[in-house]
Symmetry: none
Subunit: 465 residues, 2 copies
């Protein structure tokens, strides 16, 4: 069995040090692709540390894509070779113009569609075929309003294993996209409540609330995320936040602000937090911070997540997790609605998750995007842009913020860039009212061809000088 | 800790007996809602039985909903308050019969689910396979908000060929079920409008309008359908009708009433008719009457239809056809929404229709149900029920009305029938307010075993005499 000397971990905690050792061995090939790792209990006994230490290390390595787990079987080292081959496939398929980036641009930073060629067609087709042949009765039996139990169960298990969240399947409500679920929430909580959204933030939210005639307030943010006093000032009842990776700033909300927010919610009856965890699976680096949902003891958090980022944007499956009190209200008020996702896709996804295929797929995505992000950031550093920029919010998801220090106006930079085939999206577009910081760009990199990275940076340099 | 004497379990096995004891304590309240149960190991030691016995008992109690488990924490007694809400859910759904026939009945006339064995699994699977292999780029490209163009085009063509309707694909909006589309319509037209629904009618509609805080009025019907003067009296702006085959009375609205209704709509700005054509494909006999949509010259009709009846209720695809004026408003106000149906199913259905497979399937369904209806009606005529009944609304769809002439009360007839394994649904359940006609039953026949027809009629006879 692998073993490490953990007597001197330097400034690192035990689990961080253990992580580093294992990463090193994986990268060196000492731990081989596909190799099964010792069970947590046995490994802990062997190292002379607690099981929790090994658990944390494994969780971190899973989150970073170095290892993966197969339910009931154990932990395995990620196969980097298959990733390389898959990358080759990717390249050959990239010649087919897919959705996402507008191919008339040299680089389109406005598209955040996940690369279509990463969709696991072969496995997905196989699972559909199996479901169509062995689950006919289930396929034809109407789904409960909250969704097929199998799917809710497999999501609950996934959340437990990978996000440390304790959720009962009954709390999970499946719907055809988060937009639909927001609509359900307005119907559940009432359009006489004041809804708060992050500023800058995801503008579509305001459109949805307005469409339901629900009052909506934009709430300022500081470097730790949404400003809690502002929620009080504006009389907000329900606040929508993206704590794992704020859209578009990329801020990861620190634990202190999370508690502050929970404190705000629990001070008054009828206050709720909608925690939108839209791209948490694609955390590329940094420490995981527990979700608001998992530290909420007052039934104030409605957790929301989607498969449109991790699977593909054209399969419309999202879910929300309701606290017990709201769950009863949901069944009382809204259970007359049929579930909006077809049984065929619910059962396919359930099996895809259950059999560990979703996890493998997410690891693959994460590796792919991490590599993409790293290559872009390295190209930035190696370019003439170096010294004229600062990068932030790069720890997760498919975008980071690029602040360009230049005397040119934002408008000029964008026009120059556009004339050179580079489509930029300014952060200022995401602000409502208030003073907008200039020359900060939301760099959605998912559809960027990284082979062009150096040339892109050179063109960017020319655009702001 | 709770404890039981397991020395004499009678005819039961140890675990069955333990189950019964625990159920009893839960129902009596000795074991309280939310109470944590002892761990399996400790409980087994305390009872002096094996862990497997306790495991089996817990598994059984979980399956029956008496207790639930929280991973890593333990087993808890179910909160019966929340169970009651879930029970309510079932009840509210039963008024709109959707679930499959309850097999514990000899004949369940409350279910109108289309038989699952009629779903064209082989062809559907084949089309999915083709789509998955030859349309990958399209599958991964985001759908326009109104739906995939291919699907809208094939629906337009189908409506032209089989319903004589001239519709441009652009006018068709695809959504995950008609319930979702009703919600979109309230957002489009405003919840300050007064919505009118047929009385008796599809009660779920009122729930939807109420959920959107839109005022809803029940409008009386006569033998030709909804009463137009009543629309004026109650200040209705938008009226929902089912002219092809009214639900549940089965009335086919004559052409004169159709024109009267169109006249009402065109007399005032802002009035609209929602024509719900939910089961028109299953017209079994009688003359076809043009849809309101096809005789509407003033852009006042919103046509709505679904594939949940003709394909299966678990594939969630419906559509509406907007008149030009509303279409512009739709794109202006609501085009920020993503389409709620996944590309995979949109493309599969498009090809299924295009290749004529949908038509073949609908013909097959129609023949199947016509045969079923005929056999039931013949059995009625040949039975002792003859002379004591009248049948109406049998020209289309999967139900007809059976009026029974008897001196017994509706309640007694239903109870007697129930005691003989026949589940009846009274028409009076579909009325809101007003005097309800008694002893008329909505006979949903889609899941009835016609081999039992004679025996069913005999039991019915005994129930009302």
């Amino acid at each position: 069995m692998i073993t490490y000397n953990l007597t001197d971990t330097g400034p690192d905690s035990l689990y961080e040090y253990l992580c580093k050792c294992m990463k090193n061995d994986i990268l060196q090939g000492t731990l081989k692709a596909g190799e099964r790792l010792p069970s947590k209990r046995i490994f802990a006994a062997n190292l002379g540390v607690s099981v929790v230490t090994v658990e944390n290390a494994y969780a971190q390595l899973i989150a970073e894509g170095y290892i993966y787990s197969i339910p009931k079987r154990g932990f395995y080292v990620t196969d980097f070779n298959s990733m390389v081959t898959e990358q080759k496939e990717t390249v050959s398929e990239e010649t087919i113009p897919m959705a996402g980036g507008d191919t008339s641009y040299f680089a389109d930073f406005s598209s955040n569609q996940t690369s279509s060629d990463l969709f696991p067609f072969t496995i997905w087709s196989k699972v559909i075929r199996e479901i169509l042949s062995d689950s006919r009765v289930q396929l034809m039996t109407n789904s409960p309003c909250g969704g097929i139990y199998d799917l809710r169960e497999s999501i609950a298990k996934y959340l437990k294993d990978f996000r440390g969240m304790a959720v009962r399947p009954e709390q999970i409500i499946i719907g055809a996209g988060t937009e639909y679920l927001y609509g359900l929430l307005v119907q559940l909580l009432g359009n006489d409540k004041v809804y708060g959204v992050e500023n800058p933030g995801y503008r579509k939210l305001e459109s949805i609330y307005r469409s339901f005639q629900a009052p909506c307030e934009w709430i300022s943010m500081d470097e730790a995320g949404i400003c809690v006093p502002s929620l009080e000032d504006k009389g907000v009842d329900i606040v929508h936040v993206t704590p794992s990776h704020q859209y578009p700033t990329g801020i990861v909300m620190p634990i202190s602000r999370r508690y502050e927010l929970l404190g705000w919610a629990s001070r008054k009856e009828g206050r709720y937090i909608i925690e939108d965890d839209y791209d948490s699976e694609l955390r590329l680096s940094g420490q995981p911070i527990p979700t608001l949902q998992s530290i909420d003891m007052s039934e104030k958090v409605i957790y929301m997540n989607t498969f449109t980022k991790t699977l593909c944007s054209t399969v419309r499956i999202s879910y929300m997790i309701l606290p017990q009190k709201l769950l009863s209200l949901f069944y009382e008020k809204l259970s007359f609605y049929s579930c909006t996702v077809s049984n065929f896709e619910q059962y396919t996804l359930a099996r895809f998750i259950e059999e560990g295929k979703f996890e493998v797929h997410v690891n693959r995505l994460r590796n792919h995007y991490r590599r993409k992000r790293d290559m872009l950031l390295e190209a930035l550093k190696a370019s003439r842009m170096k010294g004229k920029i600062s990068v932030s919010g790069e720890e997760a998801g498919l975008h980071f913020l690029l602040a360009i220090h230049t005397k040119l106006s934002e408008q000029s930079v964008m026009e120059h860039a556009m004339s050179k085939g580079i489509k930029l999206v300014p952060l200022s577009d995401y602000y409502y009212g208030e003073t907008r910081k200039q020359n900060i760009y939301v760099m959605n990199f998912s559809s960027i061809d990284v082979a062009r990275a150096d040339e892109i940076m050179e063109r960017l340099y020319k655009s702001c000088n």
